[in-house]
Amino acid sequence: MTAIATQPLTGAYTADPVHSSFAFAVRYMGVSTFRGTLDGVTASLTAGPDGVALEGAAQVESISIRAPQQFRDHVLSADFFDVASHPRVVFRSTDVALGDDGRAKVDGELTIRGVSLPVRAEGTWAPEAETLSGRRAHLSLETTVDRTAYGLAWNADLPSGGKALANDVTLTIELALVATAPTEA
């Protein structure tokens, strides 16, 4: 349905780590929402005649849960990320559609804890602009994944009924893309 711009972006871009983020949100105790980020994000986007390709990775160790140690240890343990065996979360696109209306749709494969599953993320993009710090574009994406499908299976029964932690986790990805090479004339 979405009209596709002929050449929305051109060339290669890398994500500026300071202005990019990989955030997650999960409901717990049925009523509250816990939010966090993986701060160590690298990503690259390549736009060429064959379309747009997006690749990214985030270091699990960079998770924003730093204290208390017991909480961090639990999240990094085999109950959740199993960071010792799977230090990175990886994404690789199979299809990227950037619409004229500013909407973005990215299909690809998300690998967490060694499990690769197809995902579709949707959001918005901003076309390239000349800025003080070079040629920049932006991509904002959101998707929801079932953490248990990736083996992040920990849960517990609440004493009053229900489960301690929801299975659905909302992922929000912000990529501040900086052009790495001059556009060919």
Binding site: M29, Q70, H74, A156
Partner: protein, 191 residues
């Protein structure tokens, strides 16, 4: 009117002691919160020891007297392995004997809890209510899980989250109401 506060955590800088202080600040005028901080002085409960010299053991006597002298009990507990800390359970075991005349019998009681994880000792609180009910206390069903406790209090010792603060006010208010009702019933009985 007096509420006795027991913290299930023994360590200095305990988040649960902070929670008791926040509860004390939420009490209406004319109600005081007194804490009993000597859980670590109680020996492991042993029926032989209790029979031989229970009342002669000063910390045991002091605990039972502190409960008897209070109109209500407020426990603030952390969670150890999804349950109550041993020292707190041990104190409740000492307080519960002899069962027929134990000072917790019919006493209004509530359990709150703080933990550094997300879940605010919710399982320990449920265990606490279960144990208190078994002892015969008049237990409030309400709970107050304070998660991520290292960030939960402001410099003035108040709970930062307005919803949690309101929930603590309600819980403390319910406990005091229950204590007033219980006191009125005792007066009626005596008359």
């Amino acid at each position: 009117m007096r509420v006795l506060g027991l913290s299930g955590s023994l360590r200095r800088g305990s988040h649960n002691r902070a929670l008791l202080r926040a509860a004390a600040a939420a009490l209406p005028t004319g109600v005081e919160l007194v804490t009993w901080d000597r859980l670590a002085e109680l020996p492991a409960y042993d029926e032989d020891l209790d029979e031989a010299l229970g009342p002669a053991l000063e910390p045991v006597r002091a605990l039972r007297a502190a409960i008897a002298a209070a109109d209500a009990l407020l426990i603030a507990t952390p969670e150890y392995n999804a349950s109550l800390p041993g020292a707190l359970k041990n104190a409740l075991d000492w307080a519960s004997r002899p069962y027929a005349t134990n000072p917790l019998h019919g006493k209004p009681a509530a359990v709150v809890g703080a933990s550094t994880g997300l879940f605010g000792a919710v399982w320990a609180q449920a265990e606490g209510r279960k144990v208190l009910a078994a002892i015969g206390a008049d237990v409030l069903e309400r709970e107050l899980p304070v998660g991520q406790a290292q960030e939960a209090f402001d410099a003035g010792g108040r709970l930062r989250d307005p919803e949690l603060r309101a929930a603590l006010d309600v819980l403390v208010g319910d406990l005091v109401d229950r204590a007033h009702q219980s006191a009125a019933a005792h007066v009626a009985e005596a008359a």
